[in-house]
Symmetry: C2
Subunit: 476 residues, 2 copies
């Protein structure tokens, strides 16, 4: 048996401090990839924990955890008093496939390219999360006298939480509903899938184009006919919608995703009139409507609707915790009856323990305080980002969608394509995101646009990031 | 304005101590129902907190919470220094609809009939849940240095938890898989819905008849053709399955739901041979396979399968916490590729915080200790229940499905129909459950059967319950 050591200097990985993955998983992924792709051959000996931790300047515990994971999954075997060795793998089946999510294509090899700044739009300012409060409220449900919370709760979600959501929606979003109309569920894609069942798959569906790709694919996977409707400055184009013969439409009026415009009241009224006259349904996805920075708030479509044609979708992913997976929808009377008559056999998909924590968080006033604080945080972040862009990138870029939300778009006038913009940025250690993935079919914009989320980016990182983008995109 | 007080003695509700609802919600529901159904008319004054708490022997805080809920939802208004009054409701739209889930029909009016013993099969022995451990592990993830757990995790579920699940499945269920094959998701119905997409809706589906109604409806709602296949003593009838031309089948071989038989190895091999030869898929739902009391364990279908035809479904609902909503499935290679190629755009539906807690719970050995303890608990409960049944109900009943799981079936030979059995029991304060709902179409058994879950029933309650059933069913 020929065994070899890995020269320690061959291990040249940098950690991505913006990654949502802990260090040990990044290290684990590095080794796994090296093994799966054949660069570390069977019987190669891994460096000792001590050596590797010194070399990479990480703790021995981190190395230990990564090694344990590799052993558990069988990539590496431990031989007592000899060390750790790469095992002989059955290849083929377990090779990592190419992932098809458009973002993943960009997120591959997070270790190989040292990323200094990641303008990912799913991130939040997690250092501002009220950990002590959330801990205290979480623990309250975990005593034996609250043990009823271990059993299945109401299929629509527990009533106390629905009461709090209804109150909040009325006060801050102008949504008019009873707690009975609210359905809590595990994420927007789950909701959209459920809605196609509730509304019926025989209708023609439509949505904004460009629009939220995860929703679009969820509609398509439900086998419904889905039409993309173009946008103008005010949002979805009414004449195209009317001509389309669709009788369901999905829109993001508070902050169009990804373009960022806020639908004015006139367009809202037109849309509601269309829905009323054609007995169509409007799915209003208010995914980040909590964060509005300029102008007067415009009532939600749901709040303006007098004829029960709007389904309101909301989420706690942007405003609270992305990984909590709590979304909700408000059903109009007709769909509520249909739900109660025909689909009440579906169990609730969100943990009742989390529901209880969130209920207490809202009821005790922490939620409104948190929102207020985050609104200020994000407003400040956006101000800093826009100032940096003006200063560094100047007239070479056009900024789009600054009224609300946690991301902006940049049109870059330097004759690079979208993928050049992204790859040049990545080479400099900055991750920005494509917008072409949000278009269904061909009609991409003439001038390429990239998306920059700033929710999880510190001011210092913004400074570095925009500076590096100036160089990457050669904007002098 | 004519106002009247409610004479305190008119309030005759009993609380259901087995209910998963806290007292204040039961009280709230009582008043809401009285108001919605017109028995409490507008402007009626509610009793003071003090009076009602004395009358019902509950705390003033409980009354206060119920009243707050009624006020929040607008059923009652508070007038300073005067008291609480029933409001004038807009009726029609917000009336509670009949729910269609078969169990709900029985669970209506939980307050009006004082239920002493509830043989509900979704319950667990919640007093044995290791609250201190779960609390400690939960809190560990809620500190700022673990804040990456707030961000979206891997779409299949976080790797550390998948590693633990894979290890557990191999050791105790004989399931052979890599962590990469595991998909975590929010409940069996979500999984089944996702699977129709993954397997394709053009195939003909089939499942055991009788079988799990929630799964059956989920298949049907996905628009697939679904055939019910009869059972014999060993499980799904092979000749009927072969003749059906179905190319997907859903089975519960560890403990057929609801009939309780364990599929012997010979039938398992036949089923696998069929799947291999016809390129069909078997969905193996191992919903409570952890709890087996007699005979040798039989390996899972997945573990016996050499050709990648089995999808293994598991859940933590029976074995840990029903309201946590964590299920998982193990995909065979063909479906794993399809998932990675075409459906990786779907986000994970289970909270990452819960995933982390469960991961730690498994990794630190609490999970296997908990399972061992619960297996003993449930075995003991079943022994007591069976002894009581023999003693009290004797030859008038046939007990079915005692090898595993958390429920048994009773065939009752007293010429009552199923609904008579249930309603007579309910009049005596005992809740038992129908089995007819698990049949698709007509072929109900000749002799009616009811279902008794015992996971959440104490030995004392069993004694009371079986005693009352003897009277209710006139078995002397």
């Amino acid at each position: 048996m020929n065994r070899r050591d890995i020269p320690i200097l061959e291990i040249t990985l940098s950690f991505d401090s913006n990654s949502s993955e802990p260090l040990y998983l990044q290290l684990y992924s590095f080794f796994k990839k090296e093994i799966v792709e054949g660069r570390l051959i069977p019987e190669t000996k891994l460096p000792s924990k001590r050596k590797l931790s010194t070399h990479l300047q990480i703790s021995q515990t981190t190395v230990e955890s990564a090694y344990q994971q590799l052993i558990a999954e069988g990539y590496v075997k431990s031989e007592p008093r000899k060390g750790l060795f790469v095992t002989q793998l059955e290849m083929g089946f377990f090779n990592e496939k190419e992932r098809t999510s458009p973002h993943d294509k960009l997120q591959k090899n997070p270790i190989v390219n040292p990323i200094k700044v990641d303008f990912g739009h799913g991130n939040i300012a997690r250092n501002e999360f009220p950990f002590p409060t959330w801990r205290k409220l979480t623990v309250q449900s975990l005593y034996e006298d609250e043990s009823h919370l271990l059993l299945s709760g109401h299929r629509q979600g527990d009533l106390p939480l629905r009461v709090e959501i209804a109150k909040y929606l009325y006060q801050s979003r102008g949504v008019q509903c009873e707690p009975d109309q609210i359905l809590i569920g595990a994420g927007t894609q789950y909701m959209v899938t459920f809605l196609t069942m509730l509304i019926g798959r025989d209708r023609v569906y439509s949505m904004e184009n460009p629009g939220f790709h995860r929703t679009r694919e969820a509609f398509k996977d439900q086998g419904v006919k889905l039409l993309g409707i173009e946008l103008d400055q005010e949002g979805i184009k009414m004449e195209d919608l009317v001509a389309s013969k669709a009788s369901v439409t999905y829109v993001t009026p508070s902050h169009q995703f990804p373009m960022g415009m806020v639908m004015p009241i006139s367009r809202r009224m037109e849309l509601l009139k269309w829905a009323h006259e054609t007995e169509s349904y409007i799915i209003e996805d208010d995914y980040d409507g909590e964060f509005r920075y300029t102008g007067k708030p415009i009532p939600s479509l749901q709040g303006l609707d007098k004829h029960g044609r709007v389904i309101y979708l909301g989420t706690f992913s942007k405003s609270l915790i992305p990984s909590l997976r709590i979304s909700f929808m408000v059903l109009p009377p007709t769909l509520l009856s249909r739900y109660q008559d025909r689909f009440s056999i579906y169990k609730q998909t969100v943990s009742r323990l989390h529901q209880q924590t969130l209920y207490l968080f809202m009821k005790e006033g922490h939620w409104s305080r948190h929102l207020q604080k985050m609104r200020n945080t994000y407003r400040k972040k956006q101000t800093v980002l826009l100032a940096l862009i003006t200063e560094r990138l100047g007239e070479h870029v056009t900024v789009i969608g600054v009224d609300s939300g946690l991301h902006i778009l940049l049109k870059v006038h330097n004759h690079m394509t979208e993928s050049e913009l992204i790859s040049h940025a990545e080479k400099m250690g900055v991750r920005v995101y494509p917008t072409s993935v949000y278009y269904d079919g061909d009609p991409h914009p003439n001038i390429p646009m990239v998306l920059l989320g700033y929710g999880g980016v510190s001011e210092r990182e913004m400074q570095t990031g925009i500076h590096l983008l100036q160089t990457a995109w050669e904007l002098f």
